[in-house]
């Protein structure tokens, strides 16, 4: 009743809402970016569980391992890959271009399309389908001076005995991933072709396992390791694979979050300032209330209640705004200028936490102004006109 200053209250509510909104926006963008990178790492390069040999190559039959995995109910599919590096040069209009050293990934086309979405990133042509087809990463294609589908490229690979092996391929597709987490800087060929060139028949570099329930990754990994105790297998979940790669990014997120919370603190200062102004402008009314018998406690409650109202409305409005932004980002698969689309998720616990924190902060921020209001002496208060 003393405090019916709508303008200033709207200001305070806005301060709280904006604080919350900033935290939500930060979260959507940076957590979204982080999750998008993990999503792409999983989709293009690691699957949900990634298996390699601790020392060298996996010598067990890839077929046997794939079958073993695919018997687990949580497992959607598994596929082998083999990596090496090659020198490459293109022949374009009869002219040889410069030689490059680039990574080569050998895939089993039939199985690979079931564990990875890399085949969906071919924007021109199609995925590896025959022994001499070659998919070129967009960066490589560019570096080679604009390789196109149908061009022929010669790869030179050093085999296990140190001998150069040369083979001519036909470019069947060009892969390009937004955000560059895919194989933009590699070339992709048939795994058996690569095995032949390396003279590593039956060897596999890594096994990508895709789960239909990604939350079971640890379980599947542990089950696998326990089932093959005598092989030097090393398996890691996508979270573990991402761990090292994204450590820097994660501390970045932590920092951004800190900034969000500092923003919230400044909202609290805004509330203190606004309520102090309110107390000052209501000095006379406070004096009257005290004169007609309001106790200090009554005045305290009136102004604290103001903090509660500001906190509640601010938290509500801020959360609504934040969620609207989150929904918008999720529905539109928000991305910037061809960079990767954010992987937006709803984090209810964090949403509630943020709202509660803002609410509590608003109340804490109203304590001092409320206390000041109770310290006004009725005669002093009424003297001010």
């Amino acid at each position: 009743m003393l405090t019916n200053k709508r303008g200033s209250l709207i200001g305070a509510v806005l301060a709280v809402s904006i604080g919350i909104l900033v935290i939500h926006v930060n979260f959507v963008i940076f957590q979204g970016l982080y999750d998008a990178i993990i999503r792409d790492m999983s989709d293009y390069r690691f699957g949900d569980v990634y298996v390699i040999d601790e020392e060298d190559f996996i010598e067990k039959s890839d077929l046997a391992l794939v079958n073993w995995f695919e018997r687990i109910p949580y497992v959607e599919a598994a596929a082998p890959r083999l990596s090496s590096s090659a020198s490459i040069n293109a022949t374009k209009y009869g002219q040889k271009t410069e030689e490059f050293q680039i990574p080569v990934v050998g895939v089993d086309p039939f199985r690979d399309t079931r564990v990875s979405t890399i085949h969906e990133t071919i924007y021109d042509g199609q995925y590896v389908f025959s022994r001499n087809s070659l998919v070129v990463g967009s960066t490589v294609a560019q570096d080679l001076g604009g390789v196109e589908v149908g061009d022929s490229l010669k790869l030179k690979i050093v085999d296990r005995w140190g001998q150069d092996q040369l083979k001519r391929f036909i470019v069947t597709g060009i892969t390009n991933t937004p955000g560059g987490q895919g194989l933009d800087t590699s070339v992709i060929i048939h795994i058996d072709t690569l095995r032949d060139m390396l003279d590593r028949k039956g060897d596999t570099g890594s096994l990508l396992v895709k789960l239909n329930d990604p939350t079971k990754a640890v379980e599947v990994k542990n089950f696998f390791l326990a089932s093959f105790p005598n092989d030097d297998f090393k398996a890691e979940t996508i979270d573990e694979s991402a761990e090292d790669a994204l450590r820097g990014f994660r501390s970045g997120i932590a920092m951004i979050n800190m900034i969000g919370y500092f923003g919230m603190m400044s909202s609290a200062f805004a509330i203190v300032t606004i309520l102090m102004m309110l107390v000052t402008s209501k000095t006379r009314e406070i004096g009257v209330m005290r004169a007609i018998g309001a106790k200090r406690k009554d005045i305290l409650i009136i102004f604290l209640l103001q903090g509660v109202i500001i906190g509640a409305i601010g938290a509500g409005v801020g959360t609504a705004l934040g969620l609207s932004y989150t929904i918008y980002a999720k529905e539109t698969k928000m991305q910037w200028e061809g960079s990767l689309a954010l992987e937006v998720s709803y984090q209810w616990q964090k949403t509630v936490q943020t709202a509660l924190m803002a609410f509590a902060l608003a109340i804490v921020a109203s304590i001092y102004p409320s206390y000041r209001a109770t310290k006004l002496q009725p005669i002093e208060a009424m003297r001010t006109v």
């Binding site: 009743m1 003393l2 005290r290 004169a291 007609i292 106790k295 200090r296 002496q377």
Partner: protein
């Protein structure tokens, strides 16, 4: 009682050895020149401030023994205030303003009917549901009088209640207070500069240089007793 503002060199002895008692139902006028100590006296009786020395008994209660909360409760139940400016809460309606002392006390039920009855008494029944900042100064002061009376206080204290009003409005306010006093048997202590406005009253106290004297005139020579 005595009241001294400040300390040392700058100390002001606003009230010196003032002592009197007021009878129930009395309409007491306090007059005196500016700065003589009238408001100070009223603030002491209203328990808005404490005397430096001395005691104030209201309804047989030694008010000096009350703590802050008790003083608030005492002000609420035993004292009514009418200030120079009406001091209504602008965002509340006239009726809500009048009910305010009741609501602070939290003994409700009849608050609305009593308040409406008082508003009718001061001729504001039509304005009851208007917001307090939408009525004239004279009407606001009537509402303030109703607010001062709503808790059926032991004493209503009014400090220059007509000070902000033109003479015609002031006249009606004075008549209103006097008639309410008579009708309700209500004790009033009214400070004023405008002795004439009030005509006949039960009793007058004159303050001069912080000392209180019965009657309309202070003796021209003051005997100082130490």
């Amino acid at each position: 009682m005595d009241k001294t503002y400040g300390e040392g060199e700058t100390a002001v002895n606003a009230l010196k050895d003032v002592s009197f008692s007021v009878n129930k139902g009395e309409f007491l006028l306090v007059v005196g020149s500016s700065g003589s100590g009238k408001s100070t006296l009223l603030n002491m009786i209203g328990l808005l401030d404490r005397p430096t020395n001395g005691r104030i008994f209201i309804d047989g209660v030694d008010t000096m023994t009350l703590d802050d909360n008790e003083v608030s409760a005492f002000r609420n139940s035993k004292l009514g205030f009418v200030f120079q400016s009406a001091n209504l809460i602008p965002d509340l309606t006239v009726l809500e303003n009048v009910m305010l002392p009741r609501q602070i006390q939290r003994t409700d039920e009849s608050a609305t009917t009593d308040s409406l009855k008082l508003l009718r008494g001061v001729g504001l029944e039509k304005q009851a549901h208007k917001r307090a900042n939408r009525i004239s100064g004279g009407q606001a002061q009537r509402a303030a009088i109703a607010r001062g009376l709503v808790n059926k206080p032991t004493i209503v204290l009014a400090d220059e209640p007509t000070g902000n009003l033109d003479s015609i409005t002031a006249e009606t306010i004075v008549q209103l207070m006097k008639s309410m006093a008579k009708k309700l048997g209500q004790t009033f202590i009214v400070v004023t500069h405008e002795r004439e406005q009030f005509g006949d009253v039960d009793r007058i106290i004159t303050i001069k240089d912080g000392r209180a004297f019965e009657g309309e005139e202070a003796p021209s020579k003051i005997e100082v007793t130490v």
